[in-house]
Symmetry: C2
Subunit: 214 residues, 2 copies
């Protein structure tokens, strides 16, 4: 076990023995894993609806009812916390957009887009943080965006029943997945349109890309 992990464990054991402090939220006894999940859940709510720049890490500690010191042992800074929250959000979207192979390919894509657009809208501030502003240039944030593009491209190709796709089709689908994220970011910034219109346009764009690559 690394020294950091040891320290963290000790701190958490100390925390377990602490009595609730008067005047603050009741401090509940959570395991390291439970506490981490609680903090990420809290981060999901905060980053979803408020600009990254407006959130202070101290506020997160306060809302979780833990000390700043303990929070910093889970997440050394706001950027690390945002990254952990984003990873959890990406994982959740992956699970929610799991295609149903009994449906026609385009219907699988349509349903996945509905979920994706709804979640992106619910969490617009957190989503936009990954696409604009200072953190959009962060190598790990970019890595996360890139990894999700590769994953979703593979999934779309599989839904299309293309086990051995040509390089051109791979390029087309890969480009389209990037377009979905890009268009979503634009849409979230200027919401003159409802999600269904945007979804239908995205589906038709994919159909055009597939036709052009076949």
């Amino acid at each position: 076990m690394k020294p950091d992990a040891m320290l963290l464990l000790n701190l958490c054991q100390i925390e377990e023995r602490m009595a609730p402090m008067p005047g603050s939220r009741v401090r509940t006894r959570l395991s390291v894993e439970q506490r981490r999940r609680q903090l990420i859940q809290l981060g999901m709510e905060m980053f979803s609806s408020r600009a990254y720049e407006d959130i202070l890490i101290e506020e997160i500690a306060h809302q979780a009812g833990i000390s700043r010191g303990l929070l910093y042992h889970y997440f050394p800074n706001k950027r690390d916390f945002y990254l952990a929250v984003s990873k959890a959000a990406v994982d959740e979207i992956r699970d929610l957009t799991e295609p149903d192979p009994s449906l026609p390919a385009i219907e699988q894509v349509r349903r996945a887009l509905d979920v994706f657009l709804r979640k992106a809208k619910e969490r617009s501030e957190g989503f936009l943080t990954a696409y604009r502003g200072a953190l959009a240039a962060d190598p790990e944030v970019r890595g996360l965006v890139e990894a999700s593009r590769v994953f979703q491209s593979t999934r779309v190709l599989k839904a299309l029943g293309r086990r051995d796709p040509t390089p051109l089709l791979q390029l087309a689908v890969r480009g389209w997945v990037g377009l979905v994220q890009d268009v979503t970011a634009q849409w979230l910034q200027h919401r003159a349109l409802d999600g269904e219109e945007v979804r239908d346009m995205l589906v038709a764009t994919l159909e055009g890309a597939i036709a052009g690559a076949s």
Copy 2:
């Protein structure tokens, strides 16, 4: 006149009076504007074919036959030089992709894509610098990429004869222009495909996007 500009002018006047130095390239007498154009032309050649990281600014001075000191008065660092070269490259591509309004809309787009893909291939290293690595995160580089997307979107909408495009069509075309740049960057990194195949796929993707937004 700002002090920097004064200094630059003085340095250039000194340069004008200098005799060619033995053992180096012949120093030619150029005005400030001519020298700037010469340096940008040189930068275009160097950044086109070699990775940004591999080019030393001293080498540019040497090839231009001027002193390092003088070069630094035109471009304080390599990033500024790259940015000036990129602006010139973007302007050139704008001119070369000027649509011919006598042609059908899709034919205008097809021709512009041919020029764009050919130029991006000729200058692949310089193009990729704007899309990957450290400089891709630079706010001015991103601003340049963003401005070229807005410009080309407007041009495509105009070619389509949509003087008053719906927000959905604007979003579709804007997303497609981003896809063109994204797909081009991917293509330049893994060139298993020829330009015409990629161009036809891009045209079909635009047709899908337009159909979906109409």
